[in-house]
């Protein structure tokens, strides 16, 4: 009876973003994408979109990395699939971070376009670009070093232990 009720539930729509280490080879990220797709299909899910957002700067370092390859995907499935997918993502060492968000409980008719769920890996880039910028500058939190200096002066009013931050990054 419980089984019958469970089977009737319509699939839900989820989106997942996972961040792969920026230094992994193209084949590795393809293998990860393939494994993710397998997990989704084995658990009666339907991939609807896979996007590679490429290398992006991280707002804060994760596993000592300043950048990460962002992969975005949406799929239809149930909670068990999400649990299994997250378990798999945890097991893959190259995945630094992931987050699942439910988009809707009852998605309408979804068409699956093969070209949209094809994963396209990006080549790892040797070395880091923009290393002369601080993290705040890369993120656009401060426009230039002069603006940053002014902000720090203001901050000194409420706490005294942030003097060593920032500029030497």
């Amino acid at each position: 009876m419980a089984e019958a009720a469970k089977a009737k539930l319509p699939p839900r729509e989820y989106e997942v973003i996972y961040i792969v280490r920026p230094d992994v080879a193209k084949e590795t990220s393809e293998r990860i994408a393939q494994r993710v797709a397998e997990v989704v299909s084995k658990n009666d899910g339907t991939l609807t979109l896979v996007e590679n957002w490429g290398r992006r700067p991280l707002a804060y370092p994760i596993q000592h990395q300043k950048r990460g390859n962002y992969i975005y995907l949406t799929f239809l499935g149930d909670g068990a699939l999400v649990a299994e997918l997250e378990r798999n993502l945890r097991l893959i060492d190259e995945v630094m971070r992931f987050q699942t968000v439910k988009l809707s409980d009852e998605p309408g008719e979804v068409t699956v376009d093969e070209s949209r769920i094809k994963f396209e890996a990006v080549e790892p880039v040797e070395g880091e670009e923009n290393d002369d910028l601080t993290l705040e500058q890369e993120l656009g939190l401060v426009a230039n070093p002069h603006a940053r200096a002014r902000v720090e002066m203001d901050d000194d009013l409420d706490d005294g232990y942030d003097d060593d931050e920032g500029d030497d990054l």
């Binding site: 962002y70 993290l135 902000v151 901050d155």
Partner: protein, 85 residues
């Protein structure tokens, strides 16, 4: 006598024109999405804190949505938790 000439807000000219509606209520096309750090950055301080309602000018509904969006964006490293790195 209080209400004679003192139309609301006239005492302090800087107070006027401050009350704007919630930008997300006025514009249906715009929405708060954790995948859009450019918009969210407008609602956090230099130190990465979420701006309070009295400053952001958002309605309660959209301030709640903003809070969720910023927190999700932090987890996926689109926004910083703090600037002490």
């Amino acid at each position: 006598m209080m209400q004679s000439d003192a139309v609301r807000g006239e005492k302090d000219p800087f107070r006027r024109a401050r009350r704007r509606g919630c930008p997300f209520c006025n514009d249906d096309a715009q929405s708060l999405d954790y995948k859009d750090p450019g918009t969210l950055r407008y609602f956090i301080t230099d130190r990465g804190k979420i701006v309070p309602r009295r400053v952001s000018g958002l309605c309660a509904k959209h301030q709640r949505a903003l809070t969720v969006a910023v927190k999700r964006a932090r987890v996926i490293a689109f926004l910083p938790f703090t600037t002490n790195y």
